[in-house]
């Protein structure tokens, strides 16, 4: 699968988001993660006041950790600073504003998503069942381009407001009733 993906990326059509290698793919995805933070509005009081950081949590055993971290850690986002926070266990979730699951971590995503339901944490994943499991944004490759789908219902449940621009760019937007809305 990874191979396929990699292949797809490498042999994909030219473009900015063309994923030629796995490292390139995740550098692009980390940029996307950063831009998602820009286009999502957290409910008031949910971002750490006094703490000028917006934390993206990634499990420390994440294999793509280095690629993700090197691209976006420390970038300013509005008045805050974008931080990549490494999680050793799921116990440390309370400091997270965003949470990314790569496809390799799909096994523990179900429980965590369940735990995070209704919490103002933007969840981004890659697995096919990520959205049905309660995840909010899911990456997928389409014509060698990195695209994404949005589970608006999950976001709404967590009181996160996703910008219409982001919605406009999503390949599929799933409403709260669970029905997928294809663009």
């Amino acid at each position: 699968m990874v191979f396929l993906c990699l292949f797809a990326l490498v042999s994909g059509a030219p473009g900015i988001a063309r994923a030629q290698t796995a490292a390139d793919e995740y550098r692009i995805k980390s940029a996307f993660l950063y831009h998602f933070a820009q286009l999502v509005e957290w409910p008031p009081g949910t971002l750490n006041s006094g703490n000028a950081s917006l934390n993206l949590c990634i499990f420390d055993d994440e294999p793509r950790l280095a690629d993700l971290r090197s691209t976006i850690d420390g970038k300013p986002i509005g008045l805050r600073v974008f931080h990549v926070v490494l999680l050793s266990s799921s116990q440390e979730l309370q400091s997270c504003n965003m949470l990314f699951f790569s496809r390799d971590e799909a096994r523990r995503q179900g429980a965590i998503l369940k735990r995070l339901r209704g919490q103002p944490v933007l969840t981004v994943g890659e697995s096919a069942d990520f959205l049905p499991n309660g995840g909010m944004i899911r990456f997928h490759i389409e014509e060698n381009k990195i695209r994404f789908d949005i589970n608006l219902g999950a976001a709404d449940a967590s009181h996160l407001k996703i910008s219409s621009q982001l919605l406009l760019l999503a390949s599929v937007v799933i409403r709260s009733n669970g029905t997928g809305l294809e663009r």
Binding site: G15, I16, A17, H35, Q38, L39, Q165, L166, L168, L169
Partner: protein, 841 residues
């Protein structure tokens, strides 16, 4: 032709037209530029808004590399017809998405990304704008805007503006014509009136123009100005007229007064001379400017310095005005007398800066005798001078006649000055008539009759051939004057003595007059009522007379004079009772000079005063001495002669006083003898003098009684004590003849007035006996003694004093008396009883 030469209406029209065109053009351009700018600004604004909208919509697609969405977004521009194309660039400047309008030119090139901003490029406007996502730049967007629509709008706008311009020019032109007329017409009319006035000089014209505002003010002011000019012109004309009148009046007055005018400006050193001034000097009658030197060069050399001094004195304010009489050379060569008056004009410092005045010809007043109207001495001498000059040039002859009336003094004294004046006027008329009748008046030397003194006339007889012509005239004059005169209702006969001098080459006027005078004097001494020619002999006589005069003056100083005494014998007492003092001149070279040679000369001058004073002093001194030596009762007396000139001299009293005081002689011993004629001069003054002498107890004696008028009235009025019968009666005295009757009458007359009578010139016993018989008081004469020197007189008196009686034995006694004298003189005296000595008494 320059624009300023155009009519004001045209200028105004041009002005309005230009202004309105300029306004329209400026407005159009201004609006156009504003329109363009605001269109561009609004285009940029619209494009910016569009770009921002598009940017906002595409920012995310740029971030997420979603070109499809971006393109879809740009496709929305199809609703904007003016957007030709649009382009989206990523942050690296690469084209991310693009859009092209269908209606636009299909192959429009997409611009390379440039910096943000608006870029106008001919028919299009390209706007570059950043695309931002949450404040972060994600790329750029370019929009290309089609400006062709805008350009057509501008073109439309220009068309409309041109139309507006045309319409406004036309409308303005129409309005400006009206306006220009409205403003310009009054001015044009005013200009026409002004032109008319300036060409016709008719200041009564007024501008009748209806206008308001400044133009109305201008018209009113113009008319006011005309009124003022008219009244000023009128005043000026009147002033000029009155000035001309006054100038004419002044010129007439000056002309009428025969005055020349001069006006001397000291600053410019120029002097103005009026026409009359020039005419007076014989130059053409025109005014001219000259230098003061011209004036002074015409003034007689003898007067010039004086006149200049007088002018200077007035300029220095020493005299209130400049008045001067002087001679000026006439163009004809002669001199005229002028009277000049002038006043200086001074500046603030009192410095004379100008002097002006008149000059009057006073030659006539100066040269005419005011009484008779004939020329005076001044003029006569002047004419004589030019006659001498003319005669010497042309070898002509002329004569000078000197005429003196023989009896003028008598007329004046007896009939009064008025009669005397009348006589002189008559004489002047006769003289002129006789000249007219006998002399050709044409000739180089004009004849002139002049009065040169009291009763002295002179005639310049021009153009004579020889002496005879002068004689003829002189004879005629004597004839004319011989005719009776009617004065104060009386017929009077007057004679004159005439002296004639013929011109000589080197003679001066004074010489000729003097020579004629000498000749006249000669005529007088030759018996009056005749004429005499001057000759060298007379000149010698005159010179002698002159020498005598100077010699006599010296003689008085140098004691050359001697007093001689002739005894006066009292017939009652038959003894010498006094002496008559007679002067003798012992000249160191000429010997004894008889009195008739110098007394008349002395009487013609002041010498007689000196002589008389000396005689008085010397006679009194001698008599005082004798009285002391020979006391008698009554004492000896001394008779001293007093001349007419002494009588009228104020010093006489003083002299008498002094002589008496110095000698100590008692006043009663002095008798003053005077002739009838000498007391006739000024009867009133003489009477006063005589009364004063009388009061001093001095006796007064009439000499030569019977030869003059022997007026009874003065015998009565004048306080005389003694009367002396003239020798002419005594010498002719013989029993029963007429002389005896005259002597008898005189004696009776004298006695009746209470006077003693002396008979002088007694030479014979017969005369003595007759006189004694007739009751004469005193006698004097050669019968007893001629005048002798003091010592001889004293000797003579000593004898009679000793004997007491003179006539004890009549003749021999007399002879005996004279014996001691020069016997030859006595013999001569007896042989020639009417000797020369008589004249001396």
């Amino acid at each position: 032709m320059h624009i300023r030469d155009f009519s004001i209406r045209f200028k105004l029209a041009i002005l309005i037209l230009t202004a309105s065109v300029l306004a329209v053009v400026l407005a159009s351009v201004g609006f156009g530029v504003y329109e363009r700018q605001s269109y561009r600004a609004s285009a940029v604004r619209e494009l910016t808004a569009l770009a921002d909208t598009l940017g906002a919509n595409t920012a995310a697609s740029l971030v997420f590399s979603d070109q499809g969405t971006a393109k879809t977004m740009l496709g929305a521009l199809a609703t904007e017809p003016n957007i030709i194309a649009a382009c989206l660039y990523d942050n690296q400047g690469r084209v991310f998405a693009e859009y092209r309008s269908h209606s636009s030119t299909p192959n429009i090139g997409l611009p390379a990304r440039r910096r943000d901003g608006a870029y106008f490029d001919g028919a299009s406007l390209t706007l570059f704008r950043g695309v931002l996502l949450n404040g972060e730049r994600t790329g750029s967007i370019a929009l290309i805007f089609d400006l062709r629509d805008f350009r057509s709008r501008i073109f439309e706008y220009v068309k409309i503006a041109l139309l507006v311009l045309l319409v406004s020019v036309f409308a303005t032109f129409m309005v400006s014509l009206r306006l220009a007329r409205f403003i310009g017409d009054p001015l044009v009319q005013l200009a026409a009136v002004a032109r008319h006035i300036s060409s016709d000089k008719d200041y009564s014209v007024r501008a009748h123009i209806r206008a308001g505002g400044e133009t109305g003010l201008l018209v009113d002011s113009f008319n006011n100005m005309l009124s003022r000019i008219e009244s000023r012109e009128q005043a000026l004309t009147e002033a000029l007229k009155s000035f001309q009148e006054s100038e004419e009046r002044y010129a007439l007055a000056a002309r009428g007064a025969n005055d020349g005018l001069w006006d001397w400006n000291f600053t410019t050193r120029k002097i103005y001379f009026s026409p009359r001034w020039n005419h007076m000097l014989g130059y053409p009658e025109s005014e001219h400017w000259s230098v003061p030197e011209e004036w002074f060069s015409h003034i007689h050399a003898d007067d010039r310095a004086r006149v200049q001094d007088e002018i200077a004195a007035h300029c220095e304010n020493k005299t209130p005005e400049f008045v001067s009489e002087y001679r000026m050379r006439h163009q004809s060569g002669g001199y005229i007398w002028t009277l000049s008056r002038g006043i200086a004009i001074r500046d603030a410092n009192g410095q004379a800066i100008r002097m002006a005045g008149s000059q009057t010809d006073v030659t006539e007043g100066k040269t005419a005798d005011p009484l008779t109207g004939i020329p005076n001495r001044l003029y006569f001498v002047d004419r004589l001078e030019s006659a001498i000059e003319t005669a010497s040039r042309q070898e002509l002859h002329f004569a000078v006649l000197f005429i003196d009336l023989d009896q003028f003094k008598l007329v004046n004294d007896n009939l009064g000055h008025a009669a005397g004046d009348e006589l002189l006027i008559d004489v002047a008329g006769r003289l002129r008539a006789s000249i007219r009748a006998s002399v050709r008046q044409s000739g180089p030397v004009q004849s002139v009759v002049a009065r040169i003194g009291g009763d002295e006339f002179a005639i310049l007889l021009g153009s004579i051939q020889h002496e005879g012509d002068a004689s003829t005239v002189a004879t005629r004059i004597l004839e004319r004057l011989g005719e009776p005169f009617h004065l104060e209702g009386r017929r009077m006969f007057i004679t004159a003595s005439i002296g004639i001098a013929l011109n000589c080459p080197s003679c001066t006027p004074e010489d000729l007059l003097r020579d004629a005078d000498t000749a006249m004097y000669h005529a007088k001494t030759n018996g009056k009522a005749r004429y005499e020619f001057f000759n060298e002999g007379l000149r010698v006589q005159a010179v002698t007379r002159f020498e005598t005069e100077t010699g006599l003056r010296k003689a008085i100083d140098e004691q050359q004079l001697v007093v001689y005494f002739q005894p006066i014998v009292s017939l009652a007492e038959d003894r010498i009772c006094g002496f008559e003092a007679l002067v003798r001149w012992m000249h160191p070279e000429r010997g004894l000079i008889p009195p008739d040679e110098f007394i008349p000369i002395a009487e013609n001058s002041d010498l007689i005063i000196l002589l008389g004073r000396w005689m008085l002093r010397e006679s009194c001194r001698q008599m005082a001495e004798w009285q002391r030596n020979f006391p008698l009762n009554p004492p000896l007396t001394i008779s001293v002669n007093v001349s007419a000139r002494q009588l009228s001299d104020s010093r006489l009293m003083e002299d008498v006083d002094l002589a008496l005081a110095k000698s100590g002689l008692n006043h009663e011993a002095l008798a003053l003898e005077m002739t009838e004629s000498s007391i006739m001069g000024d009867a009133e003054q003489t009477l006063a003098t005589l009364n004063r002498l009388k009061n001093m107890n001095i006796r007064l004696e009439i000499d030569d009684f019977g030869t003059g008028y022997s007026s009874l009235s003065y015998l009565q009025r004048l306080p005389f004590d003694i009367l002396k019968i003239d020798r002419s009666f005594v010498s002719r005295l013989s029993a029963g003849n007429s002389s005896m009757n005259i002597v008898k009458a005189i004696l009776e007359l004298g006695h009746s007035f209470g006077m003693d009578v002396i008979a002088e010139g007694v030479e014979t016993e017969e005369q003595l006996s007759i006189l004694r018989q007739l009751g004469c008081n005193y006698i004097q004469g050669y019968l007893f003694s001629k005048p002798v020197a003091a010592d001889a007189a004293e000797q003579l008196f000593r004898k009679t004093y000793a004997s007491g009686l003179l006539f004890s034995s009549s003749l021999p006694a007399t002879v005996g008396l004279i014996e001691n004298q020069d016997s030859t003189e006595v013999l001569a005296a007896i042989g020639n009883p009417s000797g020369a000595e008589h004249a001396a008494e």
